[in-house]
């Protein structure tokens, strides 16, 4: 299991479009992927779960990946956060 904490850099936070992008990316990996914010842990492959996180600008999110391709998954998802979900 690997994990990494990132902060949200896009101003609008994780709304519908970035959330869709996030689950699409997460679904490409066989590892289980979880996102954690303020002690709340949700499945990174569920769009509704991600939206209920209320992941706003500058809030820290812990990404947890567990499985055979965990390293690759963690890296790809972190890159999404760093590139502001291709926004702005």
């Amino acid at each position: 299991m690997v994990e990494k904490t990132v902060t949200i850099k896009n101003r609008a936070g994780i709304h519908a479009r970035p959330a869709a992008l996030l689950v699409q990316t997460a679904n490409r990996f066989s590892s289980s992927i979880f996102l954690e914010k303020d002690g709340e842990k949700i499945n990174g492959k569920s769009i509704m779960g991600i939206l209920t996180l209320a992941a706003t600008y500058n809030s820290p999110i812990k990404i947890i990946a567990d499985g055979s391709d965990e390293e690759d998954a963690l890296q790809t998802i972190c890159r999404l956060f760093e590139t502001r979900f291709e926004e702005e």
């Binding site: 609008a12 936070g13 709304h15 519908a16 479009r17 699409q24 706003t56 500058n58 809030s59």
Partner: protein
Amino acid sequence: MKKITVLDLLQLDLRDRDALDLKCIAGRSGLVRELKVPEINRPGLELSGFYDNFAFQRIQIFGRGEMAYLEKLAGEGKTETLEKLFSCEIPCCVFTHSQAPTEDFRRIAERTGCTVLQTDLPSSEFTTRILRVLSNIFAPKQSVHGVFVEVFGVGVLIMGDSGVGKSETALALIERNHRLVADDLVEIRRVGGNILIGTGTGVSSHHMEIRGLGIINITHLFGVGAIRDKKQIQMAVRLEDWDPDKNYDRIGAEENFMEILGVQVPYIVIPVKPGRNIPVIIETAAMNERLKKMGYYSAKEFSKNVMRWLETESAKAIFLSET
């Protein structure tokens, strides 16, 4: 496009408000003449001798006024204008109000091989009906491979590769009290500018081919309530085998369209895999489409609510960090 002859006009199977009540009263040899334009002409000017810009390729309609003039000509023994009229290649003449043409008229029509038709409708009503019928006949057409069903009043065209389960999906929808319009081959016509009407093709409509069962007759099996002759196409659905590498729409905030005969039709792609109940998904899509038409767009409303919520949360966080 297939040639449309005067005979085709007589043989059209029209009901109620479209019925033309036409019968042939002279010039049977002209039944093979082709109708080239979906238009009509009242030949008043031509009868009086003015032939500039004569729209001879149109169906010529003789109402009470034209008839009175023909009788006046007959009284005076004049036939030149009639000879001139029939020397043009007119497709056919129609007498309204059950009027019968004069003897001269009938004779010259027979000789020149031009059909004379009669209807008991008044001129204006006949004009309205024939224009409607002609615009339907001349409407742009296209045939599509798929199944066409009416789901909760929404005309849904289901397409997809052979064997993906179009007919089976339609069968399940019929079982759930929806209606079959056409199976396998759907004929689409564009009428009134931007309305797409889908129908079956003659003998095969309301029959379905189900692998393992063969051909079944939907009308006999499910009753007349389970079928429809024609319906406006309001939505297009493509069924395709689930492709794990393809991204399917997760939010639905963007509308997709498919162009059929130049008309944009709302279009969705539904991936098929075991465990996904396609009929129920199509039912839901149809209802969602109706909801959109009524002004409520679920995905967009949801997305807007999420945005608003994120903004308040963000404002709250900033406020807390400052104090």
